[in-house]
């Protein structure tokens, strides 16, 4: 995973609210068993026409945005399905930050585990960014993760929030699994306590269906 420090990039405008993960990557692209090649499916329904050619008017297809790493979108980006293929596809395409006024919970969780910053701004700041792109489509924004700032060349600068844990993971380019593994003993003793307290425990491995009488459902 690429470490996130400071990035400076043009912003690709995709100014629609409630962009769901089915738009980010349709289900037909999920028939994979690895993470490769997902960028082809990114926004497939909007990016390609019926014959599979790129639609020139779609922002991601425009050469002026080649190499851009920031997507500027509307409210509630990433709603819908939990598919992590959505952030994988965005990252593989080259996106490293999405700026929006709000994000769906599961999408945000997934993005932050893949080096993709979900940068939440206030509505007035969002309006200023849109205006800046309107006036100057190729304007470059600078995102400084250590200082948690987003700025434009001429004066606009805003701070953004990110929880300390996710910030650390992004900066170091690490997944939180290591943290969980380090705390495995606590989990073990928790489970032991649960057992001592007489909490009933399901055991998925008992094969009740092996016995034919369980085949009849009520």
């Amino acid at each position: 995973m690429q470490k996130f420090h400071i990035i400076k990039s043009k912003m690709i405008p995709l100014l629609q609210n409630d962009i769901d993960t089915d738009q980010i990557i349709p289900a037909r692209y999920l028939k994979v068993t690895d993470k490769n090649g997902l960028a082809d499916g990114l926004f497939a329904g909007w990016r390609y026409n019926a014959s599979g050619d790129e639609k020139p008017e779609f922002p991601l297809n425009q050469t002026i945005y080649e190499g851009a790493e920031i997507l500027l979108t509307g409210d509630n980006f990433g709603c819908g399905s939990s598919r992590e293929h959505a952030p994988w596809a965005l990252v593989q395409w080259g996106i490293r930050t999405i700026i929006s006024t709000s994000f769906a919970d599961i999408f945000r969780n997934n993005a932050l585990k893949n080096g993709l910053l979900t940068l939440e701004v206030s509505i007035p700041d969002h309006e200023q960014l849109m205006e800046a792109i309107d006036n100057k489509p190729l304007i470059e924004a600078t995102i400084d993760l250590p200082n948690q700032t987003l700025s434009l060349p001429k004066g606009f600068k805003t701070e953004f929030m990110i929880d300390a844990f996710s910030k650390k993971c992004l900066k170091e380019g690490i997944d939180p699994l290591g943290y969980l593994l380090d705390n495995a003993d606590l989990v073990n003793s928790f489970e032991q306590d649960q057992k001592m307290a007489g909490i009933y425990r399901v055991t998925t491995s008992s094969d009740y269906y092996a016995n034919d009488s369980n085949l009849s459902n009520r």
Binding site: S82, E84, L180, N183, Y200, V202, T203
Partner: protein
């Protein structure tokens, strides 16, 4: 000692919510400036969101920590026409084979294509009694919220988190906020829990639940059976809430008793006494409260391209010109353009090509029975295609025992094997470009049910009425 230490976790002075109780009793540890480590009681796994997680374990030389807290099944990429893998495409076949290989390698129990217990992951958990009150349940699937109907804290996770749970049986989580939604009043005839949840999503919006766990209560919710409660919790995510919760009551206990994985004997008695305390205390504080009176609710149907764009079935398609918020106006115009619908026209009578009855939202026995009650001795409209896809093989067998399959087949519908099917159109069951469907599933996003397909979300009753009419129809006109 162990027991004392454990119950300390429950010890609280002020009234708490059901969510708080489950959270506190599963929070292993929380460091300052870090999310909580939450213990996961049950992890459900399916073929689409797990292969990369198993790859991750393999690369890191890790094992599955608790295979016996894990259950895998196949539902998204599975065929519904026959159970030959060759009836889906090559990549789906590979995905199914990969699931078998991963489960074999890591010792995870799997209900594969040939297994009598197979089905949609959120249908089988409850029906075999694995889903129990007070548990934490996760799955790499956003509709995991379904299991909240039993008073379990259940939510969808991404594939990285699937790997975390496989490796550690724990998960890092920020504590969500709580919202109480109270439905009051008697359910009018022809109105179902699907209509309640569509009405709520219309009210609070598709982002209205972001950051929240929603607890549902009120006399209307108490009167719902478990299948109906699952429908309600299932679509919590369609309002942006990762989890929905309903405190368990006698209806829950009656449902669970005797299910294969439910506690037996002394375990049952002990579990019951624990479960009975699983409710929000009088005076518990929620971050947000909403009350909806359903006494005058009409059946709901969506007209747009997200679940918030819904309306009473006896109303008209809204006019973007009347929307004052410019962003919402633009979304509505774009949605109506995609749907090719004309503002001001009545919803009833809009043409349809397909009816899809099934999914983790409405693919259970109650749903099939309710649709069959309208279709009995009737024929669906000529030229219309109706797909009936049971939520699980167990639902399929039960429906066949009750003769429901015969009712559907005689009416002219197709009776399929279980799976997610046309809800997300991964397995070849899909709409053709431009086609309209009334679907009992959960998402009407652009292209969700097939490239260019157009979805009207509604209840099984509305779906059945529409199948008979060959166009959108009000189920109240068909109920005698």
């Amino acid at each position: 000692m162990g027991s004392l230490k454990f119950f300390k976790r429950f010890k609280v002075n002020s009234p708490t919510t059901l969510f708080d109780k489950i959270w506190e009793s599963h929070c292993v540890y929380q460091e300052d400036e870090s999310p909580a480590i939450l213990f996961i009681d049950l992890h459900l796994v399916h073929e689409v969101t797990s292969p990369q997680a198993f790859n991750g374990l393999r690369e890191k030389g890790l094992e599955v920590r608790s295979p016996d807290r894990t259950l895998a099944t196949m539902d998204h990429s599975t065929p519904t026409v026959d159970l030959e893998k060759t009836s889906v495409d090559k990549s789906s076949q590979l995905q199914l084979e990969r699931m078998e290989a991963n489960c074999l390698e890591f010792g995870v129990p799997l209900y594969n294509l040939d297994h009598p217990g197979r089905g949609i992951v959120h249908v089988i958990g409850p029906e075999i009694g694995l889903t129990q009150p007070g548990m934490t349940i996760v799955c790499g699937d956003s509709h995991t919220s379904t299991h909240g109907a039993f008073g379990a804290l259940a939510f969808g996770i991404g594939t990285s988190e699937v790997e975390h749970v496989l490796a550690t049986q724990s998960l890092l989580q920020e504590r969500p906020k709580t919202m109480l939604v109270e439905f009051t009043g008697e359910l009018p005839s022809g109105v179902t829990s699907k209509d309640l949840i569509l009405a709520l999503i219309k009210e609070i919006g598709i982002g209205g639940g972001v950051g929240f766990v929603i607890e549902y209560d009120g006399d209307s919710v108490r009167s719902l059976n478990m299948d109906e409660r699952m429908t309600l919790c299932n679509m919590s995510i369609e309002a942006g809430a990762r989890a929905g919760l309903i405190s368990p009551d006698q209806i829950t206990f009656d449902y669970l008793k005797g299910r294969p994985f439910a506690p037996k004997g002394k375990d049952w008695i002990r579990s019951l006494s624990q479960w009975q305390s699983l409710r929000s205390d009088q005076g518990a504080k929620f971050d947000k409260r909403i009350q909806i009176d359903i006494g005058n609710l009409s059946p709901m149907i969506t007209f747009g391209t997200n679940p918030e764009m819904g309306a009473a079935i006896d109303s008209t398609i809204p006019d973007p010109a009347e929307e004052s918020n410019p962003v919402r106006q633009a979304s509505l115009s774009k949605a109506l353009e995609y749907m090719d619908l004309i503002p001001g026209e009545p919803l009833i009578g809009q043409k349809i090509d397909v009816v899809f009855l099934g999914s983790c939202t409405n693919g259970r026995m109650s749903d099939l029975r309710s649709a069959a009650s309208l279709l009995k001795d009737q024929k669906i409209a000529p030229g219309l295609k109706m797909l009936v896809v049971p939520g699980s093989e167990s639902v399929k067998r039960q429906a066949e025992q009750e003769g429901l399959n015969k009712i559907f087949l005689d009416a002219g519908a197709e009776w399929r094997y279980s799976g997610c099917s046309m809800c997300l159109a991964m397995n070849g069951d899909q709409l053709s470009p431009g086609q309209y469907a009334v679907s009992t599933s959960n998402r009407n996003f652009e292209g969700r049910q097939g490239v260019g397909g157009r979805t009207f979300l509604a209840s099984p009753l509305t779906a059945a009425a529409s199948a008979l009419a060959g166009k959108i129809a009000d189920p109240r006109d068909f109920i005698n």
